[in-house]
Symmetry: C2
Subunit: 262 residues, 2 copies
DNA sequence: CGTTGCGTTGAGTACCATCAACTGGGGTGG
DNA sequence: CCACCCCAGTTGATGGTACTCAACGCAACG
């Protein structure tokens, strides 16, 4: 882990817009959000129909915050809010009584934390913050109301659910039928693709705040083995990584390992 | 595999209502369906609102049929129909170019084949018939229309999607964090629970038309290992099985192996 | 300066895959 | 009617991938 992605931090600063929010919190926190152009918020805010029945006071609420390693939601909890992750990373997971843990999916900035919550109050998994996070809550009923009248928002939300489904299926294939190398490479490439859609990748390098324990619990491996796999990737000149950033050096090589087409 | 569940076939005959349909095919094929009380069709047909805007001619269409081992849908295909499996079993799967195959889920009689198709035309997986099957197709747009006006149907459909989600999450946990024994036991118990909801379990015994190759592709194992696991279950007095039926002898023992609570 | 958490590395091992041979049943064709 | 094949399942031998257990370095932190 000696080699450092020296310039990465200057290139992208996903957190810096938060500094701006702090000072203007009485206005909409979404005002200066750089993700808005690339995620569902575009349809919620910018593209709202002219006759929007909801000047939606919920949109002017201050953001919720949570610190790294704290749970945002717990399995079985009931709630009538749908949250969107404005800043920071999180993950959905299930904790088994004997200590085993399976991470169901990683949530990156701009994602909806619980897209299926529009269908029901309860969720079957817990959500934990991976970094310090801020998120916006929307009232479930109000959202459902808007989905009923705003066709473009409804379509976008449908897309969200379908995309999530495909991600889960990809994950199932990884866990059921792919080797450790394939799983890890695939995870890296998938996260890169998702971050790219949000404008958070530059020069093949991006924020990657996953500890090896988190990677292990996502890919169904042990942390020790993840260390070996990532080590082999590094020695093969495929990637470079620090604690919080990752740069893909040889993307074709990495794809050869883990971007197996479905 | 010597021991036979001698009386099972007399106890339940899930296929026999089809014989009735054959002779009355000009009427609604759903007329005599025994599953209707237990699945989404209840809300589609029996519980239709008085002012149903749709005397839905689609409901009077003859059933589609497909023979065992043939694909019902292929990944990437576009279609504007949502299908409900009236009779027989099927499975959703992804075929990898190198021959590996992962089964995403098993579809039992009464299930919606593609619940998420209401959100979009395309699906990411293929569906294959496991036995001879018959299914009813509904027009996606018409269904969406009814969902918009019929609250109980909409709620039922939401439930469908949430339930499917939870099943998938359970599957992810199995593949990522559970041993072969646990996976197989869990699969058996999950299918039993789902069949029970449809009134298709009697005396702990139920139809089970999955070959060991199918079980292997579902659980991420090899057929040989599935054979060993099922063999050990049989020798331990947990289950009895024929090619198409399965009886749980010692449900507590089986639960101790694979019903680990989430 | 001890502690704690994370990553790395090594040695030994277990679980499951792979390869192979064999069985029995069902279908097919001579 | 029998020979044959094919498929599903079983069983054994062998091996590899990834796990387990353990020790250690290192940075952050109180």
């Amino acid at each position: 882990m000696g080699e450092i992605v020296a310039t990465a931090e200057e290139q992208i600063q996903p957190h810096n817009n938060l500094e701006a929010w702090k000072s203007t919190e009485k206005a909409s926190p979404c005002e200066q959000c750089k993700l808005r152009a690339f995620n569902i918020c575009h349809y919620l805010i910018d593209d709202a129909p002219a006759a929007a029945d909801t000047p939606d006071k919920s949109m002017w609420q201050p953001l919720e915050r949570q610190r790294a390693r704290r749970n945002i939601k717990s399995a079985g909890e009931r709630a009538n809010r749908v949250s969107i992750l404005c800043d920071g990373w999180a993950f959905r997971f299930v904790q088994l009584p004997d200590g085993r843990r399976q991470i169901l999916s990683i949530i990156v900035p701009g994602d909806v934390i619980t897209p299926t919550r529009i269908f029901g109050e309860q969720i079957a998994f817990s959500v934990q913050a991976l970094t310090d996070v801020r998120y916006q809550k929307y009232d479930r009923a109000a959202l459902k109301g808007r989905l009923a009248t705003d066709q473009r928002l409804a379509d976008a939300w449908s897309d969200l659910i379908l995309t999530e489904h495909q991600q889960i299926f990809g994950h199932l294939i990884d866990l059921g039928r792919r080797s450790a190398d394939e799983r890890v490479a695939h995870l890296v490439l998938e996260l890169k693709a998702r971050l790219k859609q949000r404008g958070l990748v530059s020069q093949q390098s991006f924020e990657f705040p996953l500890s090896q324990k988190i990677v292990a619990d996502t890919t169904g491996l042990t942390p020790e083995h993840v260390s070996r796999v990532l080590g082999s990737f590094r020695r093969a000149g495929l990637i470079e990584a620090t604690e919080t950033w990752l740069r893909i050096i040889n993307i074709d090589g990495l794809r050869r390992v883990g971007d197996l087409r479905i």
